[in-house]
Subunit: 172 residues, 6 copies
């Protein structure tokens, strides 16, 4: 029987400085570099939850809203939301801070999904997640719907079978 | 009036070698590094189409299926699918090749969306895309549906207004 | 008159993954890479405290005790301890975590000192530090002694004038 | 019985160009990058002296005096000063050169200490150092005092037992 | 008996973005970085032809004509020209594109030579090259002359024995 | 009238450690990385001679003979040989050292040529080179022949006009 572990034990905070090679010709952080950091911080959160090596299985739709200029301090917070057998969903929030002005802006959020594997790369079941705060419970509850969307988009589930997902479109 | 430009003129091929720092503890390519490469190659495709500086606006759901080991040659092909005002959608296909064995595996596909901007970072309209091959036409036709899904997920469109998207769920 | 700001507002947590290029031929983290990370995290703490650009003025004696193997997760916590005019001392604690085993080891601590500067690189006075917890008060109280040791070692203060420092040797 | 080897046989010169990613927002070299280079050049000197793998044990107090701008050529010279069983102290001098002007400025000096280890990471005794020049003899003579300061600061020696160190404060 | 394989099967296209760390103080791409990229793309072409690990044996004279500014897109095309036992010659063409202006300039060409090796690093014979286009045939025909020049320059062939090479100087 | 400056004043020594990302799948240093280092060290030598910004004009034929394994210490020595108007030829010698064994192997030599430019990127005449040692005189004397070979290979000189070069083939 799977053990259970609070979501909060997987929390990871990562802080990065936006250096010249991370920026585009407008001197703003490139989206791809941010995705790279998001993958690393969420992989660490998934590893802390599972005490296993994890491999990235998918990233959900990510939107980038505001430019993050050179020299900014980027803070990424990650924590697991829910697990399904060997699969672990991680929620990441990103802020950017302009140090001289002290202004801190919300950048974006994302969901990365990982598969826990053993040394021979075979999937292995992981601890269940115990959500404690209201936010954690909300993320836990939405996890099934997001999972169905992922499976539909990857053509591994028929849209008409995605019962949870349909509710997003208020169709049932 | 916007000019039109064939999708094929935006084609970019990028080849990368998987080096030690790109890999996880199982010596396979980390998902975040691949996302970083996908962002760069698709930004170049969007720039070739628009002759403008572009900034990453979003990445759609990406799934990673097979591990790509250290030393592999990763080939990324990107081309624009369709534009909407200042917004440009790019389609990327990724292959990985184990050189000694000569085995080439399909890794994954993705859609990145960019916004073309002028020197003061303000959005600016771009060329329309002319799809020519069957594949290009199929990608062009699906672009509106993917755009609606992005807007719904970013909470900038109500699900009930996403007419194109509903067809995905065969509900209308 | 200088403003005062609690030490806790400057807290920064940085998380890094030990990748192959960070390691020596025994596959353990190189000391120089860790010093580099310590400088970045403490510079960010000093910037958060001062809302100024800061430049590294000195690093105190740092000891490295236990090897940190490839694949470890390194967590660095930094917070300011005390300021002297334009000079800011930052305290950093480093832990290393072996994710599969869940073992977390204390690695080391260090003190980095920064000078806050204006856009023309001239030193500028910064906020004073308000220590709140017992640990913060202890760090605040020891700051003068460490400052004297730095000045003596840099030959900018005569040993016999370093009154605070002498107490370290229980000589007065 | 340990062999003896002249200090000069361990000399290493390293030259680095200050590139954009090495600089802070004032376009000057970051202290942490310089510490990283100092660790590498001194580790090589310790390896040349001992013909062993070495691991960084400590870095003594380092002060950074003058800013080193982007595009500068940084020259680091390292040589061993003295060994104590498996421990090797290395002295590093750093210069920075502004090539177009031909101006060469002295940046700083530092002492790094390494432990020589065998393939199973166990400390192993190394060659003794033969100082030949006046400068080498002065560095050799000061090594014991610096070693005591390190041990006191690391709380591995009582200040009152640090006989050599006390002389620094002219107290005996 | 060695197998034969068309030159076109070894074609590799690599696309790189010129980032700040790739540039000199005039913000143009450094020659050394371009040589690094040329080595990688041509090594991949040689591996695709031989299905072997390859090691760089030599690079022929390379001239750099026009500066390539920061933010440019550099495209490298590589294909094998001819093989001699375990040795494989690769031809590389480099273009640079200023995306906003759409201007694409020819940068340079080069020849890299590789040796195919087995797992114990011993040279091993490779497929012969079948040239198909006129350009491929011209490159194939010139390969022997270039090979003699390499051997003469490496002092492994006497100039007077380099019959093919002499024709370059129209002396026979 | 151009000033004259001894070759020895341009000497630069660079030391690099072979890290995992510098190696191929056999764990030996990649040729392209070594070329990158050679370009940097020789550019510094050319800058020291000319007190000007320099840009890489060409690299002569380089051969790589022996594999340099991971963890090796690579030492590069560069010095100018001769100048022609705004053009500066630099000679580089490369050694690789296996530290635990103490074995130092000669790797290769190369000639890089640079053009000195002013702030608007226009070529500008530089100091003449004074060769002092026998080795420097030999390098100085061969410079014209190498220059003719470069011009012939770049199709900027007719082979029949390359009088110095012909002597290489003992034809006159």
């Amino acid at each position: 029987m799977a053990k259970k572990k609070p979501a909060s034990l997987s929390c990871v905070t990562m802080t990065e400085l936006v250096l010249p090679n991370d920026t585009n010709t407008l001197s703003n952080l490139m989206g791809g570099r941010l995705l790279h950091w998001m993958d690393i911080v969420s992989a660490i959160a998934a590893q802390k939850h599972s005490n296993r090596i994890v491999v990235t299985a998918s990233v959900d739709n990510v939107s980038f809203s505001k430019p993050i200029p050179l020299g900014s301090v980027v803070t990424l917070n990650a924590r697991v939301t829910r697990s399904f057998n060997s699969s672990i969903e991680v929620y990441i929030e990103v802020w950017a801070e302009n140090i001289p002005s002290g202004e801190k802006i919300y950048s974006n959020t994302a969901f990365f999904t990982f598969v826990a594997v053993d040394q021979s790369s075979k999937p292995i079941d992981v601890n269940e997640v115990i959500p404690e705060t209201d936010k954690e419970k909300e993320l836990y509850d939405g996890a099934l719907r997001r999972r169905q969307l992922r499976l539909v988009l990857a053509k591994r589930m028929k849209p008409e079978d995605a019962n949870e997902l349909k509710s997003l479109f208020k169709l049932d």
